[in-house]
Symmetry: C2
Subunit: 275 residues, 2 copies
């Protein structure tokens, strides 16, 4: 058995086409869509990700500025900048890239992003609104997981969904999105005992933990749908997921890395800028 | 086998004694602690609950006003009132009692409660901050579940916790509190398939769904710790939990209804007013 591949490229292309059309209309009206990415790190992987977003934005006709505050930025400095951008009428979306400088927590500064411009759902208020069932931007990665399930006609309602990873940017918001879709949701993490016993109960398994090939064939039952959120750098400069490729021999469906959640995430981030 | 009773009365009494001491100190300083409960319903059970909070507040030396806007109140009217109370320096805590008038959703108006006065954690921002690991008031009921586990030396870390009920006032915030305690957390609800199969995996089972005796011996495995959040009115004017009393023959520990989560909830709500 080889798992059906849950590719994200076609879906991402469709979303980008929609974005490009709306961005062109905005430009024709003389008010081009604009995303500002605030960074405060010299982390290489982060810089690579920011460049890929900027490049995708340019291709879809969204103006994208990278506002680099440098790795010595303070929490107050970052929050001030986010507040200024939130109040700037020429800016549609504000994204704060991680990692942040030592001692600066995302949750401590992301509250300065206006929820209406919080295109990557970083403000705790966005997460709270999501949990309360109010309109809010979900973090693009969490939204991408649900969009991929929809794309491939995989029903979340009634399914047992197991999420490995409890971060405020993926695991927790995704739990709320899947609960909202009527899945029965379990969140696992590094302190979970007998992880394989829990993940084996899943109809839909989402790995979002950032550890290369943590999920092995021993963690899944035959036929399960596996969504791999991991993008771990490999020694040869590539990307590896959180899911061991051998899982494809057991699972019913599996997202590729790269080419699965990643491109959909970027496309949805851009779509949020236009929304 | 008969389950150990996880009583809440002693814990509640200790919390109230602490509250009374701090409330007396505040009164001696000439600025008595003050809670305002906003209601907009003529629901009988709600009125009973509000009276019980007001009575507990009076006994601990907290001034408690009930601000009844009546069942015809509008969302705008309720939000305006919550905003005014949030800005009133004489008010320490603001609580909005449910049910609300038809067409008014708690999440739509509770954003008007200043998070610093949101003693029952109703503002979506409070929930988001909780999820993001920031200081915030949890809804008193969710906080009471965790306090009861602590009181009886029941370790959440590493445990499989199953919560039945996905409300924004109990199930969801409790999921975040238990994740924060390193439990592996599953949230079930009305659309969960084969509920008994899921609840049987629990080391700690929390029933917070509002359906009398939904959880039967068939839903639990021997030795499980069961916390019953349900307070369903009985025809004879009493209270029944979400857990069938026969579960005591299988479970290792069980909270009574009444006398379990309820009194701890009220005591914690008052403690939040002083915090």
């Amino acid at each position: 058995m080889t798992a059906r591949e849950l590719a994200g490229k076609e879906l991402a292309a469709r979303i980008r086409a929609d974005v490009a059309q709306r961005a062109a209309a905005r430009r024709a009206e003389g008010r081009p869509a604009r995303l500002v990415i605030v960074t405060a790190t010299d982390d290489e992987a982060s810089a690579w990700y920011v460049r890929s977003i900027a490049s995708a934005a340019a291709k879809t006709g969204i103006d994208c500025d990278v506002d680099d505050l440098g790795p010595a930025a303070t929490a107050a400095g970052i929050a001030d900048r986010l507040m200024a951008l939130s109040g700037d009428a020429s800016v549609d979306g504000v994204m704060l890239q991680t990692p942040l400088p030592p001692g600066v927590a995302l949750a401590d500064v992301s509250g300065a992003i206006d929820p209406a411009k919080d295109v990557d759902g970083a403000n705790p208020l966005s997460l709270g609104r999501l949990a309360a069932g109010l309109p809010a931007y979900a973090p693009a990665t969490a939204a991408a997981v649900v969009a991929l399930l929809d794309e491939h006609d995989l029903e979340a309602a009634g399914a047992r969904a197991v999420i490995v990873g409890r971060s405020a940017v993926v695991g927790k918001p995704l739990a709320h999105l899947l609960l909202d879709r009527d899945a029965t949701v379990t969140v696992c993490h590094s302190r979970t005992r007998d992880l394989a016993a829990v993940t084996s109960t899943a109809d839909v398994l989402v790995a979002a933990v950032g550890r290369t090939h943590l999920i092995t064939p021993a963690h899944v039952r035959p036929g399960v749908v596996v969504v791999d959120v991991g993008t771990n750098p490999t020694p040869d400069g590539g990307l590896a997921g959180d899911v061991d490729p051998a899982v494809a021999g057991v699972a019913g469906a599996l997202t590729p890395v790269p080419g699965g959640v990643g491109p959909v995430t970027t496309a949805l981030l851009l779509q949020h800028v236009l929304d």
